[in-house]
């Protein structure tokens, strides 16, 4: 996945940190093993409560955020696939992102002005924040085996954030839906009809 870029750019000073917005540790462990023929040598962190999504304004995956040496965001969350396997859906050319990343790491060229960064940020409103709280409550109820109560709160989250992928698609495994099956295509169509919101390329 990002292992090749990590090996190329770590000696130049870049740190890659992967964060899994996922409930299932075993699945993530397996994905991390399968993603590369060699062991991943950058950190993979678990974010079952989607804290990164809330604090960084991330509404979909795979998403990258660039942070400079001084702790400043120089590229806000944007869809950034490791390769072009799903390009029909993402409509993002991964090589452009990788080229921009090399320019930043090697030559210090930042890709966006502050105004452009602000334009591309996904700012939360009260509904999305309520949806995130309901989703989080639901996953804690699921961990306690309180499935019926969890379903109610997931339902509230889904209604409040109809175009947030971390809430819509991210909850499919929790609802017994296949995130690569019919539920995904139904969501993809309604999201596309809404104008592909929150995709900040």
């Amino acid at each position: 996945m990002w292992q090749a870029l990590h090996e190329e750019l770590a000696p130049q000073g870049l740190v890659i940190v992967a964060v899994a917005l996922d409930e299932n540790l075993d699945t993530i462990r397996q994905c991390a093993r399968e993603e590369s023929p060699v062991t991943l040598t950058y950190p993979v962190l678990m974010d079952r409560d989607h804290l990164l999504a809330e604090h960084y304004g991330i509404v979909n995956i795979p998403t990258t955020v660039w942070i400079d040496e001084h702790g400043r965001v120089v590229r806000p969350p944007a869809i950034a696939p490791a390769d072009d396997r799903f390009r029909d859906f993402t409509k993002v050319d991964s090589s452009l992102h990788h080229a921009a990343l090399r320019r930043w790491v090697l030559d210090g060229v930042v890709p966006l002005s502050d105004a452009e960064i602000h334009d591309r940020q996904e700012l939360p409103d009260a509904d999305v924040q309520q949806a995130r709280a309901e989703r989080r409550l639901a996953v804690h109820l699921l961990r306690r085996g309180q499935d019926d109560r969890a379903r109610e709160h997931l339902g509230a989250a889904l209604a409040l954030a109809p175009n947030d992928w971390t809430i819509q698609r991210g909850s499919m495994p929790l609802r017994g839906e296949d995130p690569f099956g019919q539920a995904f295509f139904d969501f993809y169509e309604s999201w596309e009809a809404a104008g592909r919101p929150g995709y900040g390329a």
Partner: protein, 137 residues
């Protein structure tokens, strides 16, 4: 009836005593302050020298307890509660998040790696960092 409840606020999970009913989730004022840092004072809800005025004090506080929904409303924060399960999640206020995002300062975080060891963004201070959010879904 008073029972133990779990209050989740950002990256903290605190067990508190709560009196719950279908429409209430009352936490003792002392424990709520311990969990969130916010204390009820004559001038309003206060933390770190900043006070937020409370419009409807009677809805917020009664008998030494503070209603969690009214507390969240006063601070402009979302809250999701399941009184019977004794579980509540406080979210961050949209206005606070917007201010943080606007500053372009990368929000700090600490999360466990796949072996459960905590890793912080600040572990890599002074270096360029690429955060990569992904999932199995």
């Amino acid at each position: 009836m008073s029972a133990l409840a779990t209050l989740i606020d950002d990256d903290r999970e605190v067990v508190v005593h709560a009196t719950t009913g279908p429409d209430t989730f009352m936490v003792t004022a002392d424990e709520l302050e311990g969990a969130t840092g916010w204390a009820l004072k004559p001038e309003g809800l206060c933390r770190d020298g900043v006070c937020v005025p409370v419009r409807n004090r009677d809805a917020l506080a009664a008998g030494g307890g503070i209603d969690l929904r009214a507390f969240a409303r006063a601070l402009g924060r979302p809250v999701a509660v399941e009184p019977e399960a004794g579980l509540a999640v406080l979210g961050e206020a949209p206005a606070t998040l917007r201010g943080n995002l606007d500053s372009l300062v990368a929000p700090p975080f600490t999360l466990p790696d796949l072996d459960g060891h905590p890793v912080s963004l600040s572990d890599f201070d002074g270096r360029k960092r690429l955060l990569f959010a992904w999932a199995s879904w």
